[in-house]
Symmetry: C2
Subunit: 546 residues, 2 copies
Amino acid sequence: MPDAKNDNIFLVGLMGAGKTTIGRLLARKLGKRFVDSDHEIEARTGASIPWIFEIEGEASFRRREADMIRELTGQHGIVLATGGGAVLDPANRKLLAERGTVIYLRAGINSILQRTAHDRNRPLLQTADPRKKLEELLAQREPLYREVADLVIDTGRPNVQSMVGTILEQMAACVKERPGTAMNQTKRINLDVALGSRSYPIVIGSAVLDDAGLVARHLGSGKAAIVTNATIAPLYLERVAAPIRAAGHEVIEIVLPDGEQYKTWESLNLIFDALLANKCDRKTTLVALGGGVIGDMTGFAAATYMRGVPFVQVPTTLLAQVDSSVGGKTGINHPLGKNMIGAFYQPRAVLADIGTLDTLPSRELSAGLAEVIKHGAILDAGFFDWIEQNIDKLVARDPDALAHAIARSCEIKAEVVRKDERESGLRAVLNFGHTFGHAIEAGLGYGNWLHGEAVGCGMVMAADLSQRLGYIDSAAVERVRALVKAAGLPVVAPDLGAERWIELMEVDKKNEGGQIKFILLKPLGSPCVTSVARETLLETLAACTA
Amino acid sequence: MPDAKNDNIFLVGLMGAGKTTIGRLLARKLGKRFVDSDHEIEARTGASIPWIFEIEGEASFRRREADMIRELTGQHGIVLATGGGAVLDPANRKLLAERGTVIYLRAGINSILQRTAHDRNRPLLQTADPRKKLEELLAQREPLYREVADLVIDTGRPNVQSMVGTILEQMAACVKERPGTAMNQTKRINLDVALGSRSYPIVIGSAVLDDAGLVARHLGSGKAAIVTNATIAPLYLERVAAPIRAAGHEVIEIVLPDGEQYKTWESLNLIFDALLANKCDRKTTLVALGGGVIGDMTGFAAATYMRGVPFVQVPTTLLAQVDSSVGGKTGINHPLGKNMIGAFYQPRAVLADIGTLDTLPSRELSAGLAEVIKHGAILDAGFFDWIEQNIDKLVARDPDALAHAIARSCEIKAEVVRKDERESGLRAVLNFGHTFGHAIEAGLGYGNWLHGEAVGCGMVMAADLSQRLGYIDSAAVERVRALVKAAGLPVVAPDLGAERWIELMEVDKKNEGGQIKFILLKPLGSPCVTSVARETLLETLAACTA
């Protein structure tokens, strides 16, 4: 008898996420039997789900559902679509987790509203404001879906066939992974950055690096040029290169010096030299293996080598996994300003292996947490709360906490990028803390403070400025300061002198017409872009520097 | 009484080009009376145009039309839409040219076919193959439309309002220009590069540089950074800068050393240094004033400064006007290959002042003619014939011949770019002669042979190779060789040694999987992309080098 965990597949997720459609196709592909829990309840009772809700009430339906889950999970070789609320019952969650591979089909609220617009068979949506109801449901159930899931699949893709293909690949990969470490090794989260023809997947999970099929799928037919740095190369280069080579690709290895101070034209030119020396053509795919510096430089090299070749991001730092690898910002520094030379150029995929964070220095882990905090502070007050409650776990590298922090950060960022790929408006809010942060980095010389450290301190300064403009109260400033500090980041800025501070901030790319643009909090959880009076700015500089 | 030339506007062009729609709006905007020649004929005869063709024959219709043209052009203050064939009669052309400002509304065959698909009122299109008929009509009439026109307007724009706006601006500009030089100073040709949201106009004419309104229209609200070289600056920089400054823009002048050998990262960095030193923000527009090297470098700087700012091409060499300023290829050279680092990045406009060719050294004029010949050789045998017939005029800088050569080259190139912006297929044909040419340039060191000289010689080699594969006969090779020679270009390649030749050609960007890709003629006037046997290539190298 096969292991029950592999023999059954249980689909969980909100109503309208596609559990039935995907489940049927998945069952056909795997030669399993498809069962829909709600349909089974209707067949047994002879009543429709709305009728049961109407006459018996939700509690009674949940009892019937629990009985059905117990019965169906006891079977073998099925693909089971569960009702959206099945995970509310701890007993159900336990049975699902023990008796099958659980796949969370995750859908955005907009797409659910579209799919269920004319469906009268969803009792919980028969309200005046279905969007609000869905948001409540998602807030309540999302942690439960994630808790029980072995695999999270974003159902943003337009095509059911390709989504089922992804599920099958991911399941195959999960089976190969090593069990028995602290983290649930089979957990893998799939997200999509929806940019039309430039859309690409983000895969977050463990042992992603060893998954030859996953990496090779994004390589095309040509050579692979892996760009990394001298610190990362001994740790991970061969682990990435070997399976790609085994898949039949010629691999060129390009190892650059490590550090923000090498994010220069000279390093970029080392990439070009190696590509040309190895006769790399336009079918060559660049693979960025490393942190934000490697990702930004490799992306810019890909954007400009022969006027553009494909590239894949394999981020190995928390900062790169939660921020810089997603969204297509690439570039190098100029002595007069950070990231002043670059391009918007999207990768073909972002493959984030959480296992690489095990070797990350604490200082860099903290630097990555700065961007996690940023995503909560500007766009998701609930996520900010969650970070506050879990900051100790995050600093202690609890894998489940890290996985959630990375996934939620990528989701927030992907949504912003989808709405404003080329930073003509909204996307600027992702620079919260960065106007001050860039000035700190440039003022001290790149590489003295890590980017994330500068951003962490910059967020405290931006919060201080927000309070001076009356946008938030002092308690909110203190929450930001305390969280940045708890993440292991500096909260007091270097004293560069007010004139130098302002001069450095004036070269920021967001500026227009000589005015410095700040991203501020109005209130915590919501961004606001504005210029400020010089006196107010001087007050913040005086209050936050030492 | 106002000057008759300014008081009347006559619209000429093929059926379906929009003469009636545009004419009505233009008349309303100018407070003139709109008259349609065909409608007047129908009103006078009481018979429809198809009926007149059917019963009386075309010759009779043309007589009625000539009478009507004579009568209507004698009036004042009208906008007259003429029939598509009105220009066939020399008497009509004389009347139109003398008695009003003639605007040629030029439309592509595809758009005419779309617009006339369901129109039974076009007697000449009632044939089995309307496309062929239209092509014949266009070939016959295009030179006549151009001969009579003061202004050529491409009707590719989706919006009649914006097209009429362009016509009004262009007419205002024509009035301001100085009369009395060799070229018809009022002639201005407008084309469109149709790339959806990245579409942009090409304006070809005299005194474009002095047209403050024209240049400023493409600048946006910010600063203008004019990038040019030490040769061009004393000739034209102030002429371009003064009207922009007068229009209220801050102007930054960036003067680079002149020559292909300076198409490097170092020169590019001089641009970045100046932009940053002058606190240029994302609203700054870069203006490329110069030849291909300045255009390519400025375009690449625009593509990558702060991840992208707008730019305008103001080409001052024939090569830049007929080729490099159109299509968005930007970049710099690498010691291991020409244009290896770059981006596809479209300008906001291409403004080509034919007057700048007066100061162009003969060697550079010849270099530009190489690309003109290329456009005929690969995509328009009729244009190739025309170049053969007019090569002496072109070398002697006859302004009308140059205007036609530039306009037709831009049209051919714009059409190729429209179909394949990022060189995934078709666009590669524009590299005819370039595979050999790039090897000559790299082999001798950049700057020894001009790019156009290398391409000219490269075309002779590609023709030789085409013959060896049986694609063209020796007479066609001789025609290419003779035309390249008559243009003042080299036809014998330097002897780099066969191994070095092949090594240099192997780094070409078009190559895939190690195979050198050649663009060949099959036959003259049509391109063919292929790899060739090493022996055949060696034969061509032996035959064409000395």
